[in-house]
Amino acid sequence: MIALLTRDLKLATRAGGGFGLGLAFFLIVVILVPFSVGPESGLLSDIAPGVLWLGALLACLLSLDRILALDWEDGTLDLVATSPLPLEGVVTIKALAHWLTTGLPMVIAAPLFGLLLNLPQPGYFWLVLSLAIGTPALSVVGTFGAALTVGLKRGGLLLSLLVLPLYVPTLIFGAELARRGADGQATTTPLLMLAGITFGVIALLPFASALVLRVNLR
């Protein structure tokens, strides 16, 4: 398990590994938004939590098809499936590696990006907290989508179509938590909902991912 995690992290940081790709995309989205909606700081403050969450979600989506497709292409998945590692564990580790290389950098960089969008001062804490709680769900759900589409040629688009609806609850409550935090309103409800969704998918989806992966490996 640890071997798989360290290997995935190592691969992500080597040439062509795609580490930082999501972060760069996130940065581009955040930079482009003021150009499209205008530089008015009040408007930017209003939409900042939503835009930041949407940017993080799209950046996450960008790297999903790499989670399993590369391992499928070079035969690693077949060999891992016949190894002592349970597939449920493999998909969990894959999701964790994806979060560490995509979600975590975005959580850390979020305050800086918030600055670019003139996020109100009380919102920083809540933005980082909402991303830290919400992005693991994006990785786990994304791994499920990757398992569904593994082996399909040009499966990336289908993957996006499958996964986006599943991202909606996380997006709603994540952005709502960040927005309420920025506005100084009560945050308990969206916080609990967001955390509930994340823990729910972490607990359940690896089993579904492993099941569809077994079917797809046939």
Partner: protein, 206 residues
């Protein structure tokens, strides 16, 4: 550590390709599968390895005893030869890779990224993975593809050592490795080849 296959019917894409296969593979024995392209050797090996379900019949093997090697070696181009081998050794809980490195003469290649290896060198690395699994039953699908004569001999030596050490090998190959083993011509088990229910749901709707 005996692998027993009883009345096995294997299918590819919902169509039975081989049926009524029965054989036993005892420790120290090699079973060589022969047959023309497309007859279902790979399908049979994948089924025995547990990667796909059998249409009917049973495969009995002790748990965690099978090492499978097929056309793709599962190598990462950006990792060095040593890192690739170490990864598989750790996955299978084996501490050392020395024996594998020695058996396939990979010492000079250890520091090189696997992506820069030739096809034959990659194959050698892929086969070296078998030695770090520590598993007794090897299931090999055309292991000698793109190997030169010297490497084939080296591979045959490794298989012989494995057999001498109480392991067993189920191997599909077109060339003669000079192994002392039984030959099974799967051509005689060819299934009649009709789809059982063309309108039925299959597992892809699961």
């Amino acid at each position: 550590m005996t692998l027993t296959v009883f009345d096995l019917t294997v299918s590819r894409g919902g169509i039975a390709v081989l049926q009524g296969l029965s054989f036993e593979l005892a420790p120290g024995r090699a079973l060589i599968l022969r047959g023309p392209n497309g007859i279902g050797k790979t399908t049979l090996l994948r089924t025995v390895a547990g990667l796909q379900p059998a249409l009917s019949g049973t495969v009995t093997a002790p748990e965690e005893s099978i090492a499978y090697a097929a056309h793709s070696d599962g190598l990462k181009a950006m990792l060095s030869v040593e890192e690739n081998l170490h990864f598989w050794a750790r996955v299978f809980g084996q501490p050392k890779i020395d024996i594998a490195v020695q058996a396939f003469e990979l010492k000079d290649l250890l520091g090189r990224p696997a992506g820069t290896l030739s096809a034959g060198q990659k194959r050698r690395l892929g086969l070296a993975r078998l030695l770090v699994t520590g598993r007794p039953i090897w299931i090999l699908d055309e292991p000698t593809v793109s190997l030169d004569a010297q490497s084939v001999a080296r591979f045959a030596d490794a298989v012989r050592r494995h057999l001498a050490g109480g392991g067993s090998v189920l191997i599909a190959t077109h060339i003669d490795l000079g192994l002392d083993g039984d030959v099974l011509d799967v051509g005689s088990f060819k299934a009649s080849g009709t789809r059982s229910d063309p309108n039925g749901f299959d597992e892809s709707f699961l």
